[in-house]
Amino acid sequence: MLDGLQHLGVGILSLLTVTNLFHVAWATLLGICVGMLPGLTATLGLTLMATLTFHMDASSAILILICMYVGSIFGGSRSAILLNIPGTPANAAVALDGFPLARQGEVGKAMGIATVGAVLGTIVGMLCLAFLAPMLAEVALEFRSFEFFWLAVLGVVISGRLTSNDDPLKGWIAGFIGLLVAMVGQDALQAYPRFGYGNTEMRAGFQLLPVMVGVFGFAELLAVMKQPVYASVKSTSARVIPKVREVVKHWKTIIRSGIAGTFMGLIPGVGEDMGAWVSYALARSRSKEPEKYGQGSEEGLISSQAGCSAAVPGAIIPVLTLAIPGSAPAAVLLAALLIHGVRPGPLIMIESPGFVFEVVAMVLFASIAILVFGLLLTKPLLKVLEVPRNRLMPVVFVLCAVGAFAVNSRLFDVWVMLGFGVFGFVLRELRFPMAPLILGVVLGPILDSNLRRGLTLTDGSLGEFFTRPISAILWITILLTFLMGTKWFPALLGKSWATVTGKNGNRNGDPPLTG
């Protein structure tokens, strides 16, 4: 514990330089702007920034990415509250109470409460990151190939289930397509160019960043431009600072939502939107005024925003300790860590324990930045929403082309971006969610190498994949996730529970889950 505090102190001190504070300021501000704009997702912003910071030193690059991550998840709440259009999918739950509250004439209160909720949620998540990351790294030292294989499958399966609540089957298909995409290129054992067909470029396979730019950038641009023009904000006045008692009276909700959001972010494949929805549902089930939820409830707003923001540090925990992303934006962070020579994984607390706490310090600084910008710069920030779509989207596409090219300086990557953009758009139109697809691409190499390595160790026997304790927990969780996606299993469980307890249980209605 003392070591941790010492490392945290060193991490905070190392960030207190003019250059680093400048990076915190502009990266968070840019993240908020990206998050605010429908059509620009946090993942796209992070992907482009990862390519931009390619030539910077590792600490500065990671600092910028984390600030952008925190900022963009927070930024989506602005348009969610004002326009009922979440700037990022993660803020869909925020619109449920933020927009009605704004329509009741309490725009300032809504913006202020959302801001403070975001900051406090991030801080709760940051504290969980500081405590849980070292503990999880300790547990992860027991992981072998078998566990990592199941973890990769779990990430895809859970992501598919939870990002496509109406049709989990399509979520799983998207995830497995992503896994298959990751198989293109030289395999790890025999270096055989899979699906290469004699093409030299295909030997290296599809690089993650161009694929992400395509799926979250170009595909998103096509989807946004397909629609007629969305609403825009014309003018604002005054600044927003909520009264302290308005926030303090929700302290239990904030802590509960922060912890729930962190745990949702921690689960591989489950992102910030689930952090928001689960926190919202939990807060409503414990609320003294549940009927106000969906009608402009402050408690509802603060719980969803706190849960959403807490999921950011939550998603960073498995990135650092398992090298497995907790969400799609976290997948970009993972890619950036690897590009900059950081080795995330179970050994991180042994090889570079200070780095984990440096990340904690980065999250803390980003939280302070969103507090400052969120409360004091509301009016100037809202100007961003006045930018006409037809002026913004071409610039975004130019950035997509540059971003795709920047990492390896290959035109092939630009074509990959184009191809996956079209592919991603078609899949979206056919109601396939994108997050499992990207997670599949990230987790594919982990799944492939660990499955084959595990089978090699056991000489082809599947026994240890199912009998090792942690593996058993993981595959049972995967099986239950599949079964809960069917119609008959939850009904069977309900009947069995009613038989056992001798009563019909009433379930509170849960808000719809969106990806």
Partner: protein, 206 residues
Amino acid sequence: MPTESYNNNGDPSTLDIEVVNSDSVTPQVEGAEGLPPGRLRPQTDLFVGIGLMLFGAAASFESWRMPRFEHLNVQIFQAPGFVPGLLGLTIAAFGLMILVRSLREGGWQLAAAGTDIGTNLRSIEARRLAILFVITLGYAWGLVGRIPFWAASFVFVLAFILLFDWREASAHSKQVRLLVTASLQAAITAVVISFVFEYIFRVRLP
């Protein structure tokens, strides 16, 4: 255009905001009738299921064709095609599930879908998409890498703005203004992005 104002009645802790709403606002995901929101019509899912089965089968077949290196005493699970083959089979199985589901929901009744493909292709959305495909692919595939990046970006941004905003500019003066502002934005975008990426972030441009 309908507008909506959020008034603060002079209270400095809140905001005055005017929101301008256009014709149709939030992109909504509409579901097929009788199905949960977000679900496609069963007729569409019929083709999705068939497509996935073909895709999965093709991936498995190609994986099976990959060398197995038996002469090097490589075991089957160490072969390059092992995992892609399994994934292809899984995708084909999922595709079969989609196909069966769509048939159960009446997907075989293709005429009942009532889709007029011609009308869809002539819709505003389809035209907008077609324009987008042409200019984005034309830029990234046709121009980038063949002419200087700043020139390619200038042409692209200018064309994009003109193609999508020209209809709004009915009067001659508005058209001239649009041309000037679009050219200015295109030039600034091309120059700023090129400069910032090449000299500040030191990223090579195509």
